[in-house]
């Protein structure tokens, strides 16, 4: 196939590679910039000109941020809600989707209508907020979990996928006397593991990046997730962030005070904070990536 490349093809390829390369670069550069700034001394950053790598390298920004108790607590909340929210959310949504994928289910049409209506019409923010309040979810960790447990959108996606799985598979298992749970775990889940991985990723990213619920549904500082922390941290004077633990750690830290710590600025701390929030994602990224490729491949097998 490659041998027969025409000239137009070659031009197309070159342009294509250039365009896509540029897109890739715009996606990568901010990470490079933030990494450089987070490892650069704040007072040096103020001079400008730090674009690709730190000019005067320092760990101090990270030291301060990693010892920040508030950030640690926010981290814990974010991890917890991402894990619990994703696992339970995908599971519940998957169950519902499977139930609905059975075409002959009596009342299916009505249930579908019931499920689809909220996709087009909702109460809006205030009634939703008031409902969370009357369920006692305001200022509770579960406000991050329960409302996202069932997603209509992913349910429809899953349902469509399940319907693409040959009905004969299910039916032959039923003939053999297998229960729905068995079918679900033996046939449906294995066949759609890539889809589940993909939707889990969607859900997890939603959880990880959400700052709104942390800002409005929770007033307790101990419940705010990382993104809300970043929001607060970015609106306010970040240079006030200073690890007292360091100061109390002893003479060594004091000696540092006058040298390294004196280079901290709001910008440098913020960049470190942002990187601290990003690094876990960047670390698991390659693994998620594999799932994705797999998901795409499996998606192509159907039908």
């Amino acid at each position: 196939m490659k041998k027969k490349m025409s000239r137009a093809d070659r031009i197309f390829n070159t342009v294509n590679i250039l365009v896509l390369g540029f897109i890739g670069l715009t996606c990568l550069y901010p990470i490079i910039m933030m990494t450089a700034l987070s490892f650069n001394q704040g007072t040096d950053t103020m001079k400008g000109g730090v674009f690709f790598w730190p000019r005067s390298f320092t760990w101090v920004n990270y030291r301060v941020m990693l010892e920040n108790v508030e950030l640690r607590s926010a981290y814990w909340i974010t991890i917890l809600r991402t894990v619990v929210g994703t696992v339970s959310g995908v599971f519940v949504t998957g169950l519902v989707a499977y139930g609905l994928s059975e075409a002959k289910l009596p009342g299916r049409k009505w249930i579908m209508i019931y499920m689809i209506i909220p996709l087009f019409f909702g109460g809006g923010l205030i009634p939703y907020y008031l409902q969370l309040r009357s369920l006692g979810l305001i200022n509770s960790f579960w406000v991050y979990i329960f409302p996202g447990l069932f997603s209509i959108y992913y349910c429809v996606v899953m349902k469509t996928f399940f319907q693409g799985i040959p009905q004969s598979l299910k039916e032959s298992m039923r003939m053999d006397g297998a229960g729905e749970l068995t079918i679900l775990f033996r046939v449906i889940f294995p066949l759609s593991s890539a889809l589940f991985a993909a939707i889990a990723l969607f859900t997890a990213v939603g959880h990880w990046n959400d700052w709104f619920s942390g800002a409005f549904y929770v007033t307790k500082g101990s419940l705010i997730p990382v993104q809300t922390f970043l929001m607060n941290f970015m609106t306010f004077d970040a240079s006030q962030t200073y690890s007292r633990d360091n100061a109390q750690a002893g003479a060594q830290a004091l000696a540092k005070m006058t040298t390294e710590f004196s280079t901290i600025t709001s910008t440098s701390l913020r960049m470190a904070a942002v990187m601290v929030a990003l690094v876990p994602i960047l670390l698991v990224y390659p693994f998620l990536q594999r799932y994705f490729v797999k998901g795409v491949l499996i998606g192509s097998i159907k039908e």
């Binding site: 704040g42 007072t43 103020m46 001079k47 400008g48 920040n68 108790v69 508030e70 950030l71 907020y129 309040r133 305001i138 200022n139 800002a215 409005f216 007033t219 307790k220 500082g221 101990s222 705010i224 809300t228 922390f229 607060n232 941290f233 609106t235 306010f236 004077d237 970040a238 240079s239 006030q240 962030t241 200073y242 690890s243 007292r244 100061a247 109390q248 002893g250 003479a251 830290a253 004091l254 005070m257 006058t258 710590f261 004196s262 280079t263 901290i264 600025t265 709001s266 910008t267």
Partner: protein
């Protein structure tokens, strides 16, 4: 370092003995209603976290668990708390948020706070009895109860400790010298303009080769407010002030237009930092640290707090009298304080597990209060409220004519220098939980404290500072036009400040007209003003 800690511990033992407080301090959660995020970007801080805070709580008997205001926005945080009914045991409401007392009324209606009548006139709390009756009556709500322990009370408002006087004009002396001018050239707005233009013309650069901006502004164009004040416009309270024989609002004051037109002329010539209208406080702070701003006209508090040792944004700036401006006899008011509780009030909520501990602390802080005390003593009392008991955390130095901080001095004498002490923490508000003071976490703490103190002393009796006037916070009907439109009007003000300042050459008039139109169309301004005027007639004779 260890020695210092030991010393503090030793000192605290002595102090504890002196105050005969033996019991463990009671943990009391409190919402610090005005402060956004505490030190370390924290939203919750335990007082006893720091050695000094620990000591303070040992004496107070109360270990505050401070909750800061998330979301930067007080009204937002207040409404969210009201909606979620999530309240700590106590609330510290600064004066600005207490007045007019509609929020207090809401807290009462929602049964969040409890009446405190039984603690007043109670032999168990003799010092609370010393709170002047006038003050108590001032805070009495329509239902006849009092819900508030006021803090920062002045029998004689003229001699109040001016910690709130922080709206400054300041200049960097090195750049002043660089253009061959002196502070005496900056007495008029024309002189200021000459200086600003000279800085621009000279093309000054800082040591890193970055351009020096003659003047800049922090968040929400604070610069514009100070210029308005300098042009004689008052920006406090509900925006009204007596002009001639009439109450005139900022929006209608011809001097407002003159001030903004002046800024516009500077902007057009590139005198003002192009990022002035959009940047956040800390962008400006970093510019100031880099010596990239020659002059400052702003509230100073966002800029003196920094951890960056060696470079504080403000300490090498010299403050100035407000320059005189054409059309203004004196500067407008930008700071008011409420003699009946300038620091606001302490409210106790229904969730308080141990209200007595809180009341005991309040009682202690009133110990030194004497309506007939000297002016210095009044400053002292304020300091007591703010920094802790005199003789323990600070003392008055008659020779210096200013307070110094005993614990700091003692520790310094013990072999530490200010740099080292700064590392330990400096957090001593027993009752005014502002959370700012531990942010003086800077290696040149001494310089910063001195600068702040000199600044307060310099400005506290200037015309831009005034005791709260009866018309500053009129009670407006809850569902009325004023309350309904306040947010939109405030937003329009800010939006058009930016638009007016950055209006293209010759376009200022058109933008001003647009501003007036929008005030009317979006904000119903003339109706809103009429409502205020009616309230003024009814409430102020």
């Amino acid at each position: 370092m260890r020695r210092i800690v030991q010393l503090i511990l030793a000192a605290s033992v002595i102090v504890l003995a002196a105050f005969q407080v033996s019991a463990e301090p009671v943990k009391v959660s409190i919402w610090s209603a005005i402060t956004g995020v505490g030190q370390e970007g924290k939203t919750e801080v335990s007082y006893s976290d720091t050695p000094i805070g620990n000591m303070v709580s040992g004496i107070n008997g109360v270990d505050w668990q401070i909750q800061y205001t998330q979301n930067s926005n007080f009204a937002n945080a207040f409404n969210l708390r009201l909606a979620s009914d999530d309240w700590p045991e106590a609330i510290n409401m600064p004066s600005a948020t207490l007045m007019p007392m509609d929020k207090l009324q809401k807290l009462i209606d929602a049964k969040v706070i409890v009446p405190l009548d039984k603690y007043y006139n109670n032999p168990k709390y003799p010092y609370i009895n010393m709170i002047p009756k006038k003050v108590i009556d001032y805070w009495r709500m329509p239902d006849g109860h009092i819900y508030n322990f006021p803090t920062g009370v002045y029998a004689d408002p003229k001699q109040a400790y001016g910690y709130w006087a922080a709206a400054v004009w300041a200049v960097r002396p090195d750049y002043l010298a660089a253009v061959n001018m002196t502070t005496s050239d900056l007495k008029t707005i024309a002189g200021v303009e000459k200086f600003l233009r000279a800085v621009k013309a000279k093309g000054l650069k800082n040591s890193d080769g970055l351009p020096v901006y003659p003047i800049s502004s922090g968040e929400n164009i604070g610069l514009a407010d100070l210029i308005l004040n300098t042009f004689g416009v008052s920006t406090v309270g509900q925006g009204f002030d007596m002009v001639g024989s009439k109450m005139v609002n900022v929006r209608d004051n011809p001097q407002t237009k003159a001030a903004l037109a002046w800024l516009n002329s500077l902007w057009a010539d590139g005198i003002i930092d192009p990022e002035a209208l959009s940047q956040k406080n800390d962008t400006l702070r970093e510019k100031m640290m880099g010596k990239r701003v020659a002059m400052m006209a702003s509230f100073a508090w966002p800029y003196w707090q920094t951890v960056t040792a060696g470079i504080t944004p403000v300490t090498d700036m010299a403050f100035l009298e407000y320059p005189s401006a054409p059309g203004a006899a004196k500067s407008g008011v930008n700071v008011t304080y409420n003699p009946n509780g300038s620091a606001g009030g302490l409210l106790i909520t229904k969730n308080a597990k141990n209200p007595e501990a809180i009341v005991n602390l309040v009682n202690e802080t009133w110990k030194d209060f004497d309506p007939k005390m000297s002016a210095d003593a009044k400053w002292e009392h304020q300091l007591t409220l703010e920094y802790g008991n005199r003789g323990v955390f600070w003392d008055w130095d008659p020779k210096l004519g200013k307070p110094y901080y005993v614990t700091l001095r003692d520790m310094a004498a013990a072999g530490g220098d200010y740099n080292k002490i700064a590392a330990i923490g400096f957090s001593m508000n027993p009752i005014i939980v502002q959370g700012n003071d531990s942010n003086y976490f800077t290696a040149n703490l001494k310089d910063v404290l001195d600068w702040i103190f000199r600044m307060h002393k310099f400005y506290y009796n200037k015309p831009n500072v005034a005791p709260e006037r009866p018309f500053d916070s009129l009670k407006m009907p809850a569902e009325g036009l004023w309350n309904k439109n306040a947010e939109v009007l405030g937003r329009l003000d800010l939006e058009y400040k930016a638009k007016l300042i950055s209006a293209p050459k010759g376009g200022f008039e058109a933008v001003w007209k647009d501003y007036q139109n929008q005030l009317e169309q979006q904000g119903n301004w003339s109706k809103v003003r009429a409502e205020w005027e009616a309230a003024y007639k009814a409430q102020v004779k």
